[in-house]
C-alpha cells in the first residue's frame, strides 16, 4: 500500500474513533449537565430550607447542620446572594455574618492558596462579602497578570473593607494604563466606606505622579464630596489634559463657589474637551451667572459643545430658548433640551 494511503487509513480510523468518543461524550455531557444542574438546585433549596428554619426559630448559625456536600464556596455564595435578593427578615444579617465567618471564609481561606485560577476566583469572591485582617496578606498576593478576575475580587474586597495596600496598588495600576481601562475599575469605588475615602484622599495629598493624581480625582467623584487640602489649581493649570479635566470635575464637585468663576474662564480654552466639561459642570452647578459666557459657545466649531451650551442655557435661564434662537437660529431647540452623548462622556 502507498505510504500516504496507509497514513490516510490510519487518520480515517483515528477520526472514526474520535467521532464515536465525541458522540458518547456528548450524550454523557448532556446527562451530566442535566443531573448536576438538578443537584445544585436541590442543594441550594436544602441550604435555603436550613437557613429559613434557623431564621424562623431565631437560632444562631450551626455549622454542623451543613454536611460536607454543601461545602462548596460557589454554592454557598449563590445561596447567600439569592437570600439577600429576597430581603429576608431581620435576623438574616446576623445569621449571614455568622455563616460567612464559620463556614464560607474558612473554606475560602483554604481555596485561595490553590494553584487553580478557577478555585482562586471563587475563593476571592467570598472575601468580597467579608474580610478579616488576617486575610489581607493572602489577598495582597493575588496578582492581576496571573488571575485578573481573582484580582478584581480582591480589589472589591480591598475597597469594601478599606484595605490600604490593595486600594493603593489598584490606584497605581489604574493610573498606569489607558483611561479607557480606568473607567471600568474606578466605578468599583462607588459606595465605598469612609476608610477607603481617606486612603484615596491621603494618596492624592502625597503623590506627585500626574496619572495617579488624575485617577484619585476621578475616584473621589464616586464619594460624597470631601474637601481636602490640596492645590487643585496647580492641577487645573497642568499641561496634562487628563489631569486638567479630572481636577476641573473635582473642584466643581466639592466647591461650587470656587468652581464657577474657574469654569467660566475655561470656556475660552482652545481644547474642546475642556470647554465641554466646563459647560456641563456649570449646567450641573445650576450656575445662572454663567449664561452669558456659555452663550458664546453656541457657535462653537464643535457639535457637542454647541449642543451642550444650548442645553445648559435653556436649563439655566427661563428665557434660554430666546437666547439660543437669537444667537444660533439653526440649532433645533426641541432636540437641544435632551441628554446628548457628550453628557455621557463627561
Amino acid at each position: 500500500m502507498h505510504p500516504v494511503l496507509k497514513f490516510g487509513v490510519e487518520i480515517a480510523i483515528a477520526e472514526a474513533i474520535i467521532i464515536v468518543i465525541l458522540i458518547i461524550a456528548s450524550i454523557v455531557a448532556s446527562i451530566l449537565s442535566y443531573i448536576s444542574e438538578n443537584i445544585e438546585n436541590k442543594r441550594m433549596r436544602k441550604i435555603e430550607y436550613i437557613l429559613l428554619k434557623l431564621l424562623q426559630k431565631h437560632k444562631k448559625f450551626n455549622k454542623k447542620l451543613f454536611p460536607k456536600k454543601f461545602h462548596n464556596v460557589r454554592l454557598l455564595l449563590k445561596t447567600i446572594l439569592a437570600f439577600d435578593a429576597q430581603r429576608p427578615p431581620h435576623p438574616w444579617h446576623e445569621l449571614r455574618a455568622e455563616m460567612l465567618e464559620q463556614l464560607v471564609l474558612p473554606l475560602a481561606r483554604k481555596k485561595i492558596k490553590s494553584i487553580s485560577a478557577i478555585t482562586q476566583i471563587y475563593a476571592t469572591a467570598a472575601f468580597v462579602l467579608k474580610t478579616d485582617t488576617k486575610d489581607v496578606p493572602s489577598l495582597e498576593k493575588i496578582q492581576y497578570k496571573k488571575s485578573p478576575l481573582a484580582y478584581l475580587n480582591c480589589c472589591i474586597a480591598g475597597i469594601n473593607f478599606g484595605i490600604k495596600s490593595i486600594v493603593i496598588s489598584l490606584i497605581k495600576l489604574l493610573s498606569s494604563t489607558s483611561w479607557l481601562y480606568q473607567t471600568g475599575y474606578s466605578f468599583l469605588f462607588h459606595g465605598a466606606p469612609k476608610a477607603t475615602h481617606h486612603i484615596v484622599a491621603e494618596l492624592l495629598a502625597q503623590t506627585e505622579d500626574v496619572s495617579i493624581r488624575a485617577t484619585c480625582y476621578d475616584i473621589m467623584l464616586q464619594f460624597p464630596p470631601i474637601k481636602i487640602k490640596i492645590d487643585v489649581m496647580r492641577d487645573i493649570n497642568s499641561d496634562d489634559l487628563t489631569l486638567k479635566l479630572s481636577a476641573l470635575k473635582y473642584i466643581a464637585y466639592v466647591d461650587r463657589e470656587a468652581a464657577i468663576p474657574l469654569l467660566i474662564k475655561q470656556l475660552a480654552s482652545d481644547i474642546y474637551q475642556v470647554r465641554l466639561v466646563s459647560i456641563h459642570r456649570l449646567y450641573l452647578l445650576d450656575a445662572k451667572e454663567a449664561v452669558q459666557s456659555i452663550a458664546q459657545c453656541l457657535n462653537d466649531e464643535d457639535l457637542s459643545v454647541r449642543r451642550s451650551a444650548a442645553k445648559a442655557i435653556i436649563h439655566l435661564d427661563k428665557d434660554g430658548k430666546e437666547i439660543v434662537r437669537s444667537i444660533a437660529p439653526d440649532l433645533n431647540l426641541e432636540l437641544a433640551n435632551m441628554k446628548y452623548v457628550a453628557d455621557m462622556i463627561w
Partner: protein, 461 residues
C-alpha cells in the same frame, strides 16, 4: 498513474494538514472558552461586577439597506441592552428603496437636525439628511445615497463621538448583556483595539420587540446547518485565532472597535463587501507595522442573533460575495504573506486563510474535476477516493461534533432536548450536500475573481 497517485497524495496531505490546523485552533481556543465561561459563572456570585453599569459610552452603528423587516427589532434589542443609557445608536440608511427610512422616522419621531459632521473618514456617496429621535437623543439617523455597507459605516463613524463603537447588522439582535460583555472584555484586555462578538442564528427563534423569547433551531435544514457552522466558527474558530494572536476576521455583524485606530486606517474599505475581514486584517497589519502592543480579542459570551440565507440561491450569493471579498482583502495585504514583520499573522494565519479557508474550495473542486475525469476514462482508484472522502468527512464531522460537545459543556445557547438533537443531526447532515455545495460555490467565486469579476458594492450580504 503516477501522476494520479501523486495528485491523490497531495489532496490527502492537504486535508490532513487542514485537519491539524483546525485541531490546533480548537486546542488554542479551549483556554479562552473555558475561562470566559467560568468568568460568566463567577460574575453570577459577585454582585459588584454583575450589577455594574455599562462602563463606558459606546456608539452602535447600524447600516441598513432595504431592511424594514428587522431594523426596528435590531434597534429595540440595543435599547433593551444593559446600560442602554450610555449607548448611542446611529442608524445609517444607505439609500433604501423600501420603507426602512419611513419606518424608523415614524417609530422614533425623528426630526431633521443641522449637524456638522466631520470628514475624518472619506465617505463616497453623499449624506442627504441627519435626524435625531424626538424623545431619545441617543438615537440618530443618517440618510445617505446608496454606497454599500462600508460607505454607510464610514458615514456613521464621522458622526461618532465616542471612543468606542460597535458595528451591528440591521438584521441582528443583541442579547441584553452582549454589549456589556464586549465592553467588559475590551476593558479587561490591556491595549485592546477590537473585540469580536459571537453570532448565533436568528432564523427559527421566537422574538418580539428586540428580545429573544425562545432560542430554537430552525426547521429549515439550510438554516440548521448554518447554526452548526456559526457555532463552529464562533465558539472555537475566532476564539482560537484570538488566542494565537492571529485573527484576520471578526463578524462585521457584531464587533466592538476602538474608533481612533479605525479612523487612523481610514475606516472601512469602500470597495470590499467583506469589509469585516479587511478591517481586521488592516488593523493587524497596522499593529505589526507600527510595533505597538495591542490586542484583538474575542468574547464568546457576547452573543448576537443574525439572519442567515434560507434559500440555496441566497446562500450561494452570500458566500460568493464573501469569497471574493476575502480574496480581495488578502491581495490588498499581500505583503503580510510570510513576512517576519507580521509574526503569527504572516507565517500562520495568512497562509492558512489563503490556502486553507479560501483556497480549500478551489483545491477540492480541482480534486472533484480530476476525479470525475479519471472516472470517465476508467483510471480512478476507488480505494484512494474512498479513503480521501472518509478522511475529509471524518475531519468535518469530528470538528462539528467537537463544537457541539463544547457548546454542551460551556455556552449552551440552545436549551432543551429538541434543540440539541436538532443541532446534533444538523452537524451530521452538513457533510452530505451543503459542504460540497459550498466547495463548488467558493471555487466558482475564485475563478470569477481571477477573471476580473468583482462583487457588487451595494448589497448587504
Amino acid at each position: 498513474m503516477q501522476f494520479i497517485t501523486g495528485l491523490y497524495s497531495f489532496i490527502m496531505w492537504y486535508i490532513i494538514i487542514l485537519d491539524l490546523m483546525y485541531v490546533l485552533l480548537l486546542v488554542a481556543s479551549l483556554k479562552s472558552i473555558f475561562l470566559g465561561y467560568i468568568e460568566s459563572k463567577v460574575i453570577e456570585v459577585v454582585p459588584t461586577i454583575r450589577d455594574l453599569p455599562l462602563l463606558h459610552p459606546v456608539t452602535v452603528i447600524i447600516p441598513v439597506y432595504n431592511g424594514e423587516d428587522l431594523i426596528l427589532e435590531s434597534i429595540y434589542s440595543v435599547l433593551n441592552s444593559k446600560g442602554h443609557e450610555k449607548i448611542n445608536i446611529t442608524i445609517v440608511n444607505d439609500g433604501s428603496t423600501d420603507g426602512t427610512l419611513q419606518k424608523v422616522i415614524e417609530t422614533f419621531e425623528m426630526q431633521e437636525i443641522n449637524a456638522r459632521i466631520t470628514d475624518r473618514i472619506s465617505v463616497v456617496n453623499k449624506v442627504k439628511k441627519i435626524y435625531l429621535a424626538k424623545h431619545n437623543a441617543n438615537i440618530m439617523l443618517i440618510d445617505k445615497e446608496n454606497g454599500g455597507k462600508s460607505d454607510a459605516l464610514n458615514a456613521g463613524l464621522n458622526l461618532c463621538r465616542t471612543d468606542l463603537f460597535v458595528t451591528l447588522d440591521h438584521d441582528t439582535l443583541v442579547a441584553p448583556d452582549a454589549i456589556f460583555t464586549l465592553m467588559y472584555v475590551f476593558l479587561r484586555n490591556k491595549n485592546a483595539i477590537a473585540i469580536g462578538g459571537s453570532l448565533s442564528i436568528l432564523n427559527g427563534c421566537k422574538h418580539k420587540e428586540g428580545k429573544i423569547i425562545e432560542e430554537r433551531i430552525s426547521k429549515n435544514p439550510l438554516c440548521a446547518i448554518q447554526a452548526v457552522e456559526y457555532l463552529r466558527s464562533f465558539l472555537f474558530g475566532r476564539a482560537g485565532w484570538a488566542e494565537l494572536k492571529g485573527s484576520l476576521c471578526y463578524a462585521g455583524a457584531f464587533t466592538l472597535f476602538d474608533y481612533n485606530y479605525v479612523a487612523e486606517i481610514g475606516g472601512f474599505d469602500y470597495k470590499n463587501v467583506a469589509q469585516d475581514f479587511e478591517i481586521i486584517t488592516h488593523l493587524q497589519a497596522l499593529r505589526s507595522e507600527k510595533h505597538f502592543e495591542s490586542r484583538l480579542g474575542f468574547a464568546p459570551g457576547a452573543v448576537a442573533w443574525t439572519s442567515v440565507p434560507d434559500t440555496l440561491k441566497d446562500y450561494w450569493y452570500q458566500r460568493t460575495n464573501w469569497q471574493m471579498g476575502s480574496i480581495h482583502s488578502l491581495i490588498l495585504h499581500k505583503n503580510i504573506f510570510f513576512n517576519p514583520k507580521y509574526g503569527v499573522i504572516g507565517f500562520i494565519t495568512y497562509p492558512f486563510f489563503l490556502l486553507g479557508e479560501i483556497g480549500c474550495g478551489f483545491i477540492i473542486s480541482i480534486g472533484y474535476i480530476i476525479g470525475a475525469i479519471c472516472w470517465g476514462i476508467d483510471l480512478v482508484d476507488y480505494y484512494w477516493v474512498s479513503i480521501i472522502l472518509l478522511v475529509s468527512f471524518g475531519l468535518s464531522l469530528s470538528l462539528s461534533l467537537a463544537t457541539f460537545f463544547l457548546s454542551l459543556i460551556t455556552y449552551s445557547r440552545y436549551k432543551g432536548f429538541k434543540a440539541k438533537l436538532g443541532l446534533f443531526f444538523a452537524a451530521i447532515l452538513e457533510n452530505f450536500g451543503l459542504r460540497q455545495f459550498l466547495v463548488v460555490c467558493e471555487a466558482i467565486a475564485t475563478v470569477r475573481y481571477m477573471f476580473g469579476q468583482r462583487p457588487p458594492i451595494v448589497p448587504y450580504a
